[in-house]
Amino acid sequence: MSDQVVVPWDSVCQLPMGGTIAWTLPSLSATLSTVLPYPVLTAPGTPSPGIPRLVVVGGGSLIDHAKLWKRQQSPTTWLCAVPSLWGSGAEASSVAVETRGGQKVPFMDATLLPDARSCFPTLADTVPPDYAFWGFGDVWAHALEGFLSPLSSDELRQEFATLLADLLAMPLVPSAAWFELSARACDLQSRSGVGLIHGIAHELEPRLHGYGHARLCTALLWPVFRFNASRSPKVETLCTSFGVSMDAVGERLQSLFREADFYAILPSMVEHWGLMIRNPLSRINCAVARPDAISYFQRREFAS
């Protein structure tokens, strides 16, 4: 487990007024100002280096921005990350992604893990329905690809299996419990690996307007899971060994599948398949993503 501390929201609200700043998105500023006793700074404003405590409340991009800000400009600041949306798990990860000239540049470093994370339950009610849905898919993608990753260990897979059972018990309805599931999925995944879903998503993100990471992962979950199961007997073996019901997982992934999204991205997948199978994340997939594998998706074999 990581050294990160999980802080109850009540305690975040009681941090000393002097030396604490909250940093958030314009859309959340008013809500936070009513519950936090310390100043609330709104992005794109940036905190002054050297402040003792920073509570960042936002999506993955703002949390990653705060993590990089701390590392580059204010290493002594105590950073507490509070997600406004589940999925990325940025609050529980030592990876931060910065966008430079339209390209996403990942950084990985233990110092990027926030000192603490918390959950503001009220924010679960503010997530727009589509974002909530894509966030569910993003959490599932981290949990499933981490579980099946050839880089995972039996010990980690046991933790993933518990997480997958919890996810199966969780209806696809917004609730504060998704924040914790998202953080657990990200924490575990950062200690194993991801795979083809993320390899494809990372290549498509800069090419497809309107299709962010979570939306792409959600669209790819069911087809890629079926692809992996059709190519590698290991998928069934691992599920059986760790008590994960493939049928139940498959059913849940199908309920997260939006055909229109998948068919909107398929032409780009076909066009850039060569790049996708060269992506480092695709190369550590649990089944080999071969040059001719694109036909599996084109022929919609996952639906049969």
């Binding site: 050839p150 190519r231 190369r283 997939n285 040059p291």
Partner: protein
């Protein structure tokens, strides 16, 4: 499809090579994509294709196509001469 042909196709697919680049004498140092990720991908592909699970130390010790054939032969996978 013979095991020899299956292995050739696997090497082409995993290391993203063209037909012309393949030979039984191919060595790790000849292939740019036979890096640490390539080792993982090769191990996954060998299990997929031949049903044999390479242990991590075996996967990292393999340095050529002929090494793969040797490991698989020692573990009951037959290659036609």
């Amino acid at each position: 499809m013979t095991n020899r042909s299956k292995l050739k196709q696997l090497i082409l697919d995993v290391f993203l090579l063209s037909e012309e680049e393949y030979s039984l004498n191919l060595k790790r140092e000849d292939i740019q994509t036979w890096d640490s990720l390539g080792v993982v991908s090769m191990a996954v592909g060998i299990q997929e294709t031949f049903g044999y699970h390479l242990r991590p130390e075996q996967a990292t010790a393999i340095a050529s196509v002929s090494d793969i054939i040797q490991v698989l032969t020692e573990n009951g996978v037959h290659f036609d001469v």
